[in-house]
Amino acid sequence: MVLQHVGRIRTMSVVVAVAGAVALAGCGSSSKSSSSSAASTPQGASTGSSSTSSTSASVNTSSCGTKPGVKATGTPIPLGAIVTSQPGTSFTDIANMANAYFTCVNDNGGINGHPIKYYIETEQTNPAQIAADAKQLVDTDHVVGIVGNTSIIECSIDASFWQKLGYYVIASGIAPECYSTPNYADVNMGPRYSSDGAVQYALAMHVSKIVFDQSNVPGTGYIAGGPAALAAAAHVPIVQLTENVPISDASSVAIKEVDDAGPNGAVVLNFTPPEALVILQAAQKLGLEDRVKAWGCSTPCNTDFLAKALGPKWNGKLFVNAELTPPDDTSSPAMNLYKAIFKQYGSAVSGGIGSFSQMGFTEAEIAVHALESIKGPYTVASVNAAFKAVSNYNTGMLCQLWTYGSYPTHIANNMDYTVTPDNGRMVKAPNGGCTLISSVDPQVAAYRRAAGTAPQAPTS
């Protein structure tokens, strides 16, 4: 009997050990995925207004190049990118859309007759692997420029490497170093400034309190700094919450947020779309959506997936920061070219029309614009000088003109839209047109002191 008991205890100890291993695996994978979430998480970049309805293109893709229909046959110009691709977190759509743009350019004259050869390295949030990827791009592939990087930690790992070698990266940023170092400039705002935008919109609604809730992952303190500064300047109390992800008790989280905010307050979320969705749906099931004055969300919530899953109860109730021009509402030449390129060349872009592929398009568009300005050979020096020289460029995808420049920090996209669900789509919210992110955020203020305030884009 005693032996049997001992055996059972041993069995249970073994099970606890295995369960611990499973839990660790879960943490790892969730931190990948929750990392897909916040600060150092994909959340920042996972801005995905994903529309499936607007892929009809009225523009011929040949307008992407200077010689329509003529394939480029010269010496290739090698460019590279490093993107996160792991279970639960994939940014490959961004590089794949950039590649689609480059392919279009190659089919229509290239860069002065030279095709672009684009090397995409994927990584799994492993610092050693990321450093090796960067070395491979430089030493083996001999790339002359880095375009389309989107990674949870790549900026943190490689910032000094690029600086040392003189590469000026055009990227979609997530980690703080993507915005706070001289050699990265991003087309997106990232989690901090997008959260600023969402809080700013809520404050404009004269709420009495802000509850700002985000994933409990490294970097949350950096993100929280922006909303805290905005709320303090408006003399509105702010409660900062963090949640372990993946969230296993969404109802509790929603109840806590609403209780803390009060009837005249606002709840602002900074999570990946799946995590934000479970909180908002739990709130809806419990009838909490009307228990606060407003719900806000940083850019990751800008997805039609989310709008569809939420349904009409959230129309005009949830306000989402949008870093890029909403594709459904826009018919500018750049937007139409983007849709046409996606249709003809974007078979590898799994997420469809949306912010991810918009970012890839925009980064490639800026790179091509810079490359076309080069007279002479395409070297690391000439290409990166051209990238750095991009100034007040109208991408057609952003609220304001885009500038790289020689600045210690880069928040090149600091003017945003606000969207709200409308029967399964995200549309511009009332007063949700282009609005500058407040300089009350000390990081934004520092950038504007150095770079000034870029003009609003004529197409926005």
Partner: protein, 298 residues
């Protein structure tokens, strides 16, 4: 410290989660008693069933009820298939080997789910049961029918399984196998068939739990796969034996977890609840073992 009123809504959500943990924990205990296998893939199987149901509803225009049945049948079938293919080979292996083998199934399913239901491009999914649309008010607390059903199913499955193990021939055979598989076989019990019934039942419960958790928590492969940890903690607290104790432990895990939410200083540690409770239970069990050994020595 929050007031009693502040805690009330968390009691409801905690009980609902506890109900589903109980349902899962009972499935794990029944399978363990019959086969000696701790089925770590329980959550992943349920998650895949729920994702299949979501696809059938949203992309194949299946009626909801038909999709739910497919989810449960899939979960039962894949669990049974695993048991039939690997059960005999693992029967005489160490508990760790048996558990690690189910971890292999978990990882395979996890990879397949990531491939088929990718989260790139901001994709997010949800599976809502019609019972979400109704409910009632208890004081200031809104109770949704799905939460009531979760608790109800947890109670019903625990009671039915307890009765099944106690009063049916198959249940008696399962209990006998828990004590000694070899002796049970020599007594003429069709061991493979009894094991198959346990695998099938456990799989069906994982399908039901997957659907309920997809609604109550999230339709997300990672989340659902690793929610098995809470159920496993409940099963461990019950020493992988007692159905009644598994039920009680599961409800306690769910309740304690959610009741910690409004307490600011503890809220970020509430996910430790299943581990802490399981560790405390194991410590107490170890003490009892020392005492019983001492008594025998005396």
């Amino acid at each position: 410290m929050p007031s009693w009123q502040d805690f009330q809504p968390f009691i409801v959500s905690g009980l609902a989660l506890g109900g589903v943990y109980a349902l899962s924990g009972v499935g794990l205990v029944v399978l363990y008693r019959a086969t000696g296998v701790v089925y770590l893939a329980f959550g992943a199987v349920g998650a895949m069933g729920a994702l299949i149901a979501w696809s059938l509803i949203n992309h194949a225009a299946f009626p909801d009820w038909a999709a739910w049945i497919v989810a449960i049948v899939f979960s039962a079938a894949i669990t049974l298939a695993y048991g039939m293919v690997f059960g005999a080979a693992l029967a005489k292996r160490e508990p760790l080997v048996k558990a690690a083998a189910t971890l292999g199934l978990l990882l395979v399913l996890f990879g397949v789910m990531d491939l088929l239901w990718t989260s790139s491009g901001g994709a997010s999914r949800s599976l809502s049961l019609p019972t979400d649309n109704g409910g009632f008010q208890v004081g200031s607390v809104q109770v949704v029918w799905t939460q009531v059903i979760a608790v109800g199913i947890g109670v019903a499955i625990a009671a039915a399984t307890g009765a099944f193990l106690r009063f049916t021939k198959l249940g008696t055979a399962m209990r006998a196998m828990a004590n000694d598989r070899e002796i049970t076989a020599t007594l003429g019990v069709p061991v493979r068939r009894v094991e198959a019934a346990a695998w099938l039942g456990c799989g069906a419960l994982s399908g039901v739990a997957g659907l309920l958790l997809a609604d109550l928590v999230a339709l997300d492969a990672t989340t659902l796969t690793f929610l098995v940890i809470s159920s496993l903690a409940a099963a461990l607290i019950a020493r992988l034996r007692s159905i009644a104790l598994t039920f009680v432990a599961a409800m306690v895990v769910g309740l304690v977890h959610d009741l910690l939410t409004p307490i600011q200083s503890l809220t970020n540690y509430r996910d430790m609840t299943p581990f802490v409770l399981a560790a405390v239970a194991l410590l107490l069990l170890s003490q009892r073992r020392v005492i019983s050994l001492s008594r025998e020595e005396a």
